[in-house]
């Protein structure tokens, strides 16, 4: 096997190189030659091609994502902002929390189980890298129609993969989403979130500081997994991919990761590292260039000593391999033995592969020859940046103009009742326990709220009542109608969900799932969504701490619905004060908070009953969201609320059904005066919640709402032993019938 060395590259400047096949544009290849003053070696080309891929360089999204920083609200809640592996939030009392969401969409289509499993594995390592103990995961999932044949292949595999990996790591799964829409059939979305907890003085950063310090690769051996994945996988649709470019699948080893987590936590506790980085997309290329670029600036690496699973791997392949369950640490020579001892205790393979230098160069050798000699910043941070053309889709005005106001609506109690039963059984609104029962939500013993509650909530530690709440939300249909509003609606819903548990929303993460950035219409959707999110975060005072962009989500030339998925994290001082969703106190009054308008564009009703998408999504009112949140949080803190549940997709009717079924309690409802019953029940107006208040607290609660100026309509009472949900003057439906409809849908499809 011939090795392409730096010396050879100097001597053979005209040798042709497969830059195009590696996904590099001609200009980008020229730029690399300029940086190096010669042609790159094949190993250098491998590094640049993966580091400059869309997936790693954010070259199409960077100019937009800047707004998250530029428009960031003033806050002292952020300990580490954007740009690190994950942002870190101050949770009070010396506790810090780090969280992030990431996509694994394409791999989950190719091999659902492993694709989803390694998605969880990757995000957990990101959180671990910050110095935190990972304490919970969430998953946001989107598939094709429930009845589409391929959904029966993809969904069970994805769910088993997320469960298989997360359960085996001992991380409770505390929430997520499952949506169905035809646009995701050939391109499911699998977004995984992880949250970690640490003390504020335990934060670790990804940098290689201190000349003479050792670079240690530890964890799994390197194999041929996903070679070219980072670049090829993320920058071409499958239709374009030549067979040779098809990604090979990465297989996860959750046991290896569990051991790696415990090993790292012991290493952190003993303060044995200067810097640390996980190996994810772009593997060693990414870890070495990023660590070096963020630190003293140089690194020497001996690729010969990298422990291999497949001894035939060439250096280019070693550099591009995406083998899972690997980490890289920078360790002082004095601490090296201690470090290696901890690894040995956990049976984790650890190898010194290099040294930090102050040369400003990343140098790698192979069989004694220099095969890489580059300035690391040029690969890690100074990649190409594109301002791609954007263009409002030609049919956007038409989509918004045809608002569906003439769609026939149900009239009379009987039709309303039928509509309700049909909606609660529809795939997007139906019970998701077929999925969530495959996830461990109890492990670690700190889970206070999990599915199907509005947000997941965990206690930070045995020593404190303090906790955090998290929700992830997105709505591709709203975003299609108006991506600016769609991003804000997702943000608002996640924010509302967190507040509905009694926690104070503090910070935001996001995963932006879009089609091809080379399509100006998609790029317009993306730009609008980012602008909407940045503006929304500023107004709500919740900064974006990090996230992930996934482009090229399309089948042929048809893109998925633009799908920004937003995660909001909140803090609660005492988890015992959490507000659950269930109706549970007999005789308690039920209130609807907020205003209801006639808003059905993009609604579940329009989709399920009419298969219709058009109009403008529900109005966004972030000031009202803040007001609603403040009332929920304060009332929760003062113990005024027995339950709270946000109103979103499916409207008031769906919220009432969920609260009643969750508590196995009946309720008698009188719809607010002056509202059409159909609008009252099914409109998806935002900034609303359903709460229940027991008699002794009613006066205080009503006064709180009046003082703050939050509309609060008393719409009924809970009848704990009542067998049904009664809508006065309209219809009565037995809980048993509702439950059968709501619970039956997914099992009927998947067994």
């Amino acid at each position: 096997m011939s090795i392409d060395t730096v010396e050879q590259a100097e001597q053979t400047p005209d040798q042709s190189q497969p830059s195009k096949e590696l996904g590099l544009a001609d200009d980008e290849y020229r730029q690399i030659r300029e940086i190096l003053g010669r042609r790159p070696t094949s190993s250098e080309l491998a590094i640049y091609s993966v580091m400059w891929s869309e997936h790693c360089s954010y070259k199409s999204s960077k100019v937009h994502l800047r707004q998250f920083g530029d428009k960031a609200p003033k806050t002292d809640a952020l300990l580490v902002g954007m740009g690190e592996n994950a942002g870190v939030v101050d949770a009070g009392d010396g506790w810090a929390v780090t969280f992030k969401i990431e996509s694994h969409n394409h791999p989950s289509y190719v091999e659902p189980y492993q694709g989803a499993a390694t998605g969880v594995g990757g995000i957990v390592r990101d959180i671990l890298t910050m110095g935190a103990r990972p304490v919970a995961v969430m998953d946001s999932l989107r598939f094709g129609r429930l009845d589409a044949p391929d959904t029966a292949r993809v969904l069970p595999g994805v769910v088993a993969g997320i469960g298989g990996y997360g359960n085996c790591l001992g991380l409770p799964n505390i929430g997520g989403e499952v949506y169905f829409d035809e646009s995701y059939l050939g391109n499911p979305l699998v977004n995984a979130l992880c949250v970690g907890v640490m003390r504020t003085d335990g934060i670790k950063l990804a940098k290689a500081d201190g000349p003479g310090n050792k670079v240690v690769l530890f964890g799994a051996r390197t194999g041929g997994d996903g070679i070219g994945g980072a670049s090829v996988l993320a920058s071409a649709t499958f239709d374009d991919a030549k067979p040779s470019k098809r990604p090979s699948v990465q297989v996860g080893d959750p046991f290896a990761e569990k051991v790696l987590i415990e090993c790292c936590l012991e290493i952190f506790a003993a303060d044995l590292v200067v810097g640390i980085q996980d190996l994810g997309a772009a593997g060693l290329s990414c870890a070495t260039t990023e660590l070096a670029a963020a630190g003293t600036g140089g690194m020497d690496v001996d690729l010969d000593v990298v422990p291999l699973r497949d001894p035939t791997l060439a250096p280019e392949e070693i550099l591009m391999s995406e083998s899972q369950e690997r980490m890289m640490a920078v360790v002082t020579p004095e601490r090296l033995d201690d470090f290696l001892n901890v690894c040995a205790k956990w049976d984790v393979t650890a190898t010194v592969i290099g040294t930090v230098t102050d040369t400003g160069r990343l140098r790698m050798t192979w069989r004694g020859e220099t095969i890489v000699d580059i300035p690391p910043r040029t690969a890690a941070h100074e990649g190409p940046v594109y301002r791609r053309p954007t263009e409002r889709p030609f049919d956007q005005d038409a989509i918004q103009a045809h608002d569906g106001s003439s769609l026939p609506r149900p009239r009379g109690g009987d039709e309303l009742r039928k509509t309700l039963l049909r909606l609660v059984a529809s795939p997007n609104l139906a019970d998701k326990s077929w999925v969530t029962d495959q996830y461990d939500r109890f492990v670690l013993g700190h889970t206070v709220l999990a599915q199907p509650e509005d947000a997941g909530m965990i206690r930070l530690d045995d020593s404190t009542p303090r906790g955090i709440a998290l929700s992830v939300d997105g709505n591709g249909r709203y975003s299609k109608l108006d991506p600016y509003a769609g991003a804000q609606l997702a943000l608002a819903e996640a924010y509302r969900n967190v507040a509905a548990t009694g926690a104070r929303p503090l910070a935001v993460t996001n995963c932006l799932n879009f089609g091809s950035p080379e399509d100006p219409a998609v790029m317009w959707q993306f730009a609008e969504a980012v602008r909407g999110l940045a503006d929304g975060c500023r107004q709500l005072g919740t900064p974006v701490t990090g996230g992930n962009v996934s482009f090229y989500n399309q089948t042929g030339s048809s893109a998925i619905l633009p799908t920004p998925v937003i995660g909001v994290l909140g803090v609660i001082d005492d988890v015992a004060k959490r507000i659950p969703q269930a109706f549970r106190s007999d005789g308690a009054a039920i209130y609807l908070l907020g205003d209801t308008r006639d808003e059905f564009a993009g609604s579940e009703w329009a989709y399920v009953v009419h298969g219709y998408l058009g109009g403008r999504p529900p109005a966004v009112d972030l000031a009202r969201e803040q007001l609603l949140a403040s009332v929920l949080i304060d009332a929760g803190r003062d113990g005024l609320l027995d339950s709270a549940h946000d109103v979103s997709e499916g409207g008031l009717a769906q919220a009432l059904v969920e609260a009643a079924l969750r508590g196995d309690s009946g309720a008698r409802i009188t719809l607010p005066e002056g509202l059409d019953p159909f609008v009252a029940l099914f409109s998806e107006s935002t900034a609303r919640a359903v709460v229940s208040v027991s008699r002794p607290h009613e006066a205080a609660f009503a006064e709180l709402c009046a003082d703050r100026g939050l509309p609060a309509a008393r719409i009924g009472t809970i009848d704990v032993l009542g067998p049904s949900l009664e809508i006065d003057g309209q219809f009565t439906v037995a809980l048993r019938e509702l439950r059968a409809a709501w619970k039956g849908t997914l099992p009927a499809r998947f067994g």
Binding site: A160, G164, N167, K258, T436
Partner: protein, 217 residues
């Protein structure tokens, strides 16, 4: 409290022991010493990733050799979920645990009937008492041949059975069994996740730990 590589519910079980007034002591799989403890809990999780068969590899850990002989001498041992699997693989308990009949991981609150209240771990319950604790497993179907099952029933060695639905296809609805002496108990459901209504399904599981500390006290 034994920690194997891949143990997950070890902290939870330690918390439960503490809640019952006991003092949890960490034992390490590679250390054969039992450090003079009064009882041992093998916690839930995926020791060695549950690779090969759940519990199959953990069985060969150095600590297990000491544990097997101490258990034969009467040391109270509770194996929860993965711990139950390890006890079967080590032949301290008869039968085996294989993949759930539903072929999926199952996590949900589960109703049980406690049948044998003479073991070291169940003396705090009333015979026939119905309790709810979480179940969460992939390989939770208890299987054994008919002779073994008949014998278990005849000797009243079935500690608990599932009620209101069998979550994993276990033969004869078996959720937990004990050895002849009643000191070794294997349990598929997770009582350590039912010691505090705030974070678990209730407090019904505390009885397993109270049974022990009551005895030890």
């Amino acid at each position: 409290m034994v920690t194997f590589p891949g143990s997950l519910d070890d902290r939870d079980a330690a918390r439960a022991v503490r809640a019952a007034g006991g003092e949890p002591v960490a034992l390490w799989h590679a250390d054969p010493s039992l450090h003079d403890v009064d009882a041992v809990i093998l916690p839930g999780g995926f020791s060695y990733g549950d690779y090969l068969r759940a519990g199959a590899i953990a069985r060969f850990a150095p600590v297990m050799e000491s544990l097997v002989s101490a258990a034969r001498d009467g040391l109270p041992v509770l194996g929860i979920c993965n711990g139950f699997q390890v006890l079967c693989e080590s032949h301290l308990l008869p039968g085996a645990l294989v993949g759930n009949a539903g072929r999926k991981f199952v996590c949900r609150p589960q109703s049980l009937r406690v049948e044998n209240v003479k073991t070291s771990w169940t003396s705090g319950y009333r015979a026939g008492q119905e309790i709810v604790v979480p179940i969460k497993n992939m390989d939770g179907m208890y299987v054994a041949d008919d002779r073994t099952l008949d014998k278990l029933e005849a000797d009243a060695r079935i500690v608990a059975r599932y009620r209101l639905g069998n979550p994993n296809g276990s033969y004869r609805d078996i959720a937990g069994i004990t050895n002849k002496a009643g000191n070794v108990v294997g349990l598929m459901p997770h009582p350590e996740h039912a010691i505090d209504p705030l974070t678990g399904t209730g407090a019904d599981g505390l009885g397993f730990f109270l049974s022990l500390t009551g005895v030890a006290a």
